[in-house]
Symmetry: C2
Subunit: 145 residues, 2 copies
């Protein structure tokens, strides 16, 4: 559990493919075939990613999508945020005031900490890392106290 949604997974498929030849213009149709996704699904995702600023779109005939910036500068955290919205491990993790028992809640700061660790992990992996043959350079360590 604690899964990312399928849509996010699909999005990374599309983006990693584009990352192999950035600056190139890709049509929704072509990308859908490449990723073996139904066209409507791919199209929907691409529109979303463009709206969120990860892709630049070109309308009209011979149009398509291009990565908005270099693959090194697109993190998994950004992709996830674009597709699923802001990262929030628990309901009341973000948004001060959402939870009524906010003050005096002892578990809250610790959840935030876990959330933060996750955030860093996702930020540390870029699209470029995802297409690299080697594992990405992230490591998490426990500090003694």
């Amino acid at each position: 559990m604690l899964r990312i949604s399928k849509l996010t997974d699909y999005a990374t498929l599309l983006l990693t493919h584009m990352a192999r030849a950035p600056q190139q213009v890709y049509s929704a149709r072509g990308l859908a075939e490449q990723a073996a996704l139904p066209l409507p699904v791919a199209a929907k995702l691409l529109k979303l990613l463009a709206r969120e600023g990860l892709l630049v779109s070109q309308r009209g005939a011979a149009g398509g999508y291009v990565l908005a910036r270099a693959p090194q500068r697109i993190s998994m955290a950004q992709i996830l945020a674009a597709v699923e919205g802001p990262l929030a491990v628990t309901e009341c993790a973000l948004g001060r005031g959402v939870c009524e028992m906010e003050k005096g809640c002892a578990t809250r700061p610790h959840w935030q900490l876990i959330g933060h660790a996750l955030q860093v992990a996702l930020e540390a992996v870029s699209l470029a890392d995802m297409v690299a043959p080697k594992a990405a350079p992230v490591r998490l360590q426990r500090l003694e106290r």
Copy 2:
């Protein structure tokens, strides 16, 4: 997004309360009141946690639940696994053979890495940490390469 389920959140509420006085026996009714949860929900969760080995149950009158081990030895990873099942960030992250395009998939190992970082983060925080006033000692760092 990337939320833990409400149930998991509830479970930590129950467990953290028990962690403040371990070895004590708690009834489902009492815990439900404490956590301001509907009794059926709390009861269901407690049964589950007992089945998963995080709690020891005592049936009959004057029965109830006790933490199966010291709060230091119960990690958030275990709680999450108990409630939501094994951690798997993506569909094909765990279970070799689930995904057909497994071999030759470049994104897979990197997802696994992210999953692993998350796993470590969750293992690093214990139930004892959750009731402690200070933030838990976890830190994630990006390695240069």
